[in-house]
């Protein structure tokens, strides 16, 4: 583990250099503890794959004190429990109609569309990070057989709910946005709803399962085509 300066009021803790569920669990544990220990000297935090950015109030504390909190917190970290966090099931309508890249992805992977759907929906994914846009959860890792490089020309408009793959990551677009990931289906669950409590169905450290649904069920759950 390694603590680096990030900026005038922030330090970043590196727990590892790869995507690893155990490292991710440590990030979660450290974030939860530091939030309590630092109390009102903490301004914000950004947990990600293998790092935790800690932003502190430089008029209430300084980087020596924050480093001490970090050192003490890290020393007390037990064996991070990889299985902590809730399991969230997200329904997905996989089809050419809802996932314009599904057939190309299957072709390139030398698989049938049904096999791609089976492989994508059989795996349990971990929420490694949330960012890029409000509610955008980076889920990993997808089976290498269905990993796919980003599109060479990103789409200007990816619909809300689009289920997508980029390399070994998968995600559900929380809102209409530009994007270069491969679209394989649509999820009717809102990933970011400012009016809902909680705003997001998942948080970093949770695990996600995708469950295939038919067109009719997708529409019944409020999905839009």
């Amino acid at each position: 583990m390694n603590v680096e300066i990030a900026g005038e009021n922030s330090l970043i803790i590196y727990f590892g250099e790869t995507t690893d569920p155990l490292v991710s669990a440590q990030v979660q544990q450290a974030a939860a503890r530091l939030e309590i220990v630092m109390a009102d000297t903490l301004i914000d935090m950004v947990p990600s794959y293998a790092s935790l950015l800690v932003i502190y109030d430089q008029h209430k504390t300084d980087h020596y004190a924050v480093r001490r909190h970090i050192r003490e917190t890290l020393a007390q970290l037990g064996h991070a429990e990889q299985q902590a966090g809730q399991v969230v099931t997200l329904p997905v309508y996989y089809s050419a109609e809802s996932g314009p890249d599904l057939e190309t992805l299957a072709e390139n992977a030398k698989l049938t569309v049904a096999e791609v759907i089976k492989i994508h929906s059989e795996m349990e994914y971990r929420v490694y990070a949330i960012g890029f846009a409000p509610g955008f959860a980076y889920l990993g890792e997808v089976d290498p057989r269905i990993a796919a490089a980003r599109l060479s020309t990103p789409r200007l408009k990816v619909p809300r709910g689009a289920v997508a793959i980029a390399d070994r990551q998968t995600a559900v677009y929380p809102a209409v946005s530009p994007g270069g990931w491969n679209l394989i289906g649509l999820c009717p669950t809102r990933m970011f709803n400012p009016e809902a409590d909680p705003t997001m169905p998942v948080q970093v450290g949770d695990r996600v399962r995708f469950s295939p649904i038919e067109r009719a069920e997708f529409l019944a759950l409020g999905g839009e085509l």
């Binding site: 680096e4 300066i5 990030a6 900026g7 005038e8 009021n9 922030s10 970043i12 250099e17 790869t18 995507t19 301004i43 914000d44 935090m45 950004v46 947990p47 990600s48 794959y49 293998a50 790092s51 935790l52 950015l53 932003i55 430089q58 008029h59 300084d62 980087h63 990070a129 949330i130 960012g131 890029f132 846009a133 409000p134 509610g135 955008f136 980076y138 809102a175 970011f192 400012p194 705003t199 997001m200 948080q203 970093v204």
Partner: protein
């Protein structure tokens, strides 16, 4: 509720408070005024809390009509400022009456002005802040920049005194900028030659500069890494993409990203940077975290110790 009616919204006028904090974990960025210094002065001139809700006017072109009797102040960029067609001074408080027309023309120096009213604008918070981030469609009146016909709600307010910031304390937005940088993040992946090139070269502010980040053009610098595992990005972080041209990330930055970073610019200097127009000359200077802390503490003392002049 009455307040101020937007007759012309200008190019980019945003409702802002001090920013949105504690929401990075759901992917929300900070928002808030790009020039936090000018924003704080505007609120202080109106006798407000320093994080009260005001307007950030980029480039200019704003016309408002008062529907209440109150006081207001404009700080930041030099935009021709008129009340009922009469030129009036920035960096001081003015009484306005219902029916008055308030105009901010196009900036002649600097690029962001801050307009605040006594008591601040009464805008509902979203995610604990009123700061507008258009990319996220969060904050402000509807997550968007001001539009013609919008009503900016505020209370009537009878000012007991009017104030001005002494001219000696008013910033100059025409000088070349030296951005003070604390080395951090992946700085060790920029070898000593690359670091020397970075700190000894002059860059120009490109036209690709918005509230997310300001791109600079000049001597390319290279990290030994092409990309990194996505990680949290703090305010002022200097990201170096594959083309080697630095990007200083600002208030509306994405919360995580995967480009190598050499360090971060202190916020006093990003405030100055945000007042510059494309083509402005920019240099970087390395400072320690301790020095940055001293600079910020001294600036805070100076802000508190500077007395406003009573003008009425």
């Amino acid at each position: 509720m009455s307040g101020f009616l937007v007759k012309q919204p200008g190019l980019l006028t945003l409702i802002q408070d001090a920013g949105r904090y504690g929401q990075h974990r759901i992917g929300l960025t900070t928002g808030g005024p790009l020039d936090g210094e000018a924003f704080k002065w505007a609120n202080r001139l109106c006798g407000n809390e320093l994080d009260a809700t005001g307007l950030e006017v980029s480039i200019g072109g704003l016309v408002l009509e008062a529907q209440v009797d109150t006081a207001l102040a404009v700080t930041g960029a030099d935009m021709p400022f008129k009340i009922n067609g009469q030129d009036v001074a920035r960096w001081c408080t003015h009484k306005v009456n219902a029916g008055d027309k308030i105009e901010l023309g196009f900036a002649t120096s600097g690029s962001r002005a801050y307009l605040t009213v006594a008591g601040g604008f009464n805008v509902d918070q979203s995610f604990s802040s009123t700061a507008t981030v258009t990319r996220e469609a969060v904050g402000g009146l509807s997550g968007d920049k001001l539009k013609q016909g919008d009503l900016l709600p505020c209370q009537a307010h009878r000012p007991t005194a009017l104030w001005a910031l002494p001219e000696s304390e008013q910033p100059d937005y025409n000088s070349d900028v030296t951005l003070r940088v604390i080395l951090g993040y992946q700085h060790q992946t920029f070898d000593s030659v690359q670091q020397r090139l970075f700190f000894s070269s002059e860059y120009a502010l490109s036209s690709r500069a918005d509230r997310m980040g300001f791109r600079l053009e000049g001597q390319p610098v290279k990290s030994q890494l092409n990309g990194i595992l996505s990680e949290g990005i703090c305010h002022g972080a200097i990201q170096i993409p594959a083309d080697g041209q630095p990007i200083v990330l600002l208030n509306d930055r994405q919360t995580i990203g995967g480009y190598p970073k050499i360090g971060s610019v202190i916020s006093r200097d990003t405030a100055q940077l945000s007042q510059r127009m494309p083509g402005a000359k920019i240099r970087f200077e390395e400072i320690s975290l301790e020095k940055a802390h001293n600079i910020n503490c001294l600036a805070q003392r100076r802000f508190i110790n500077t007395s406003l002049q009573q003008i009425a």
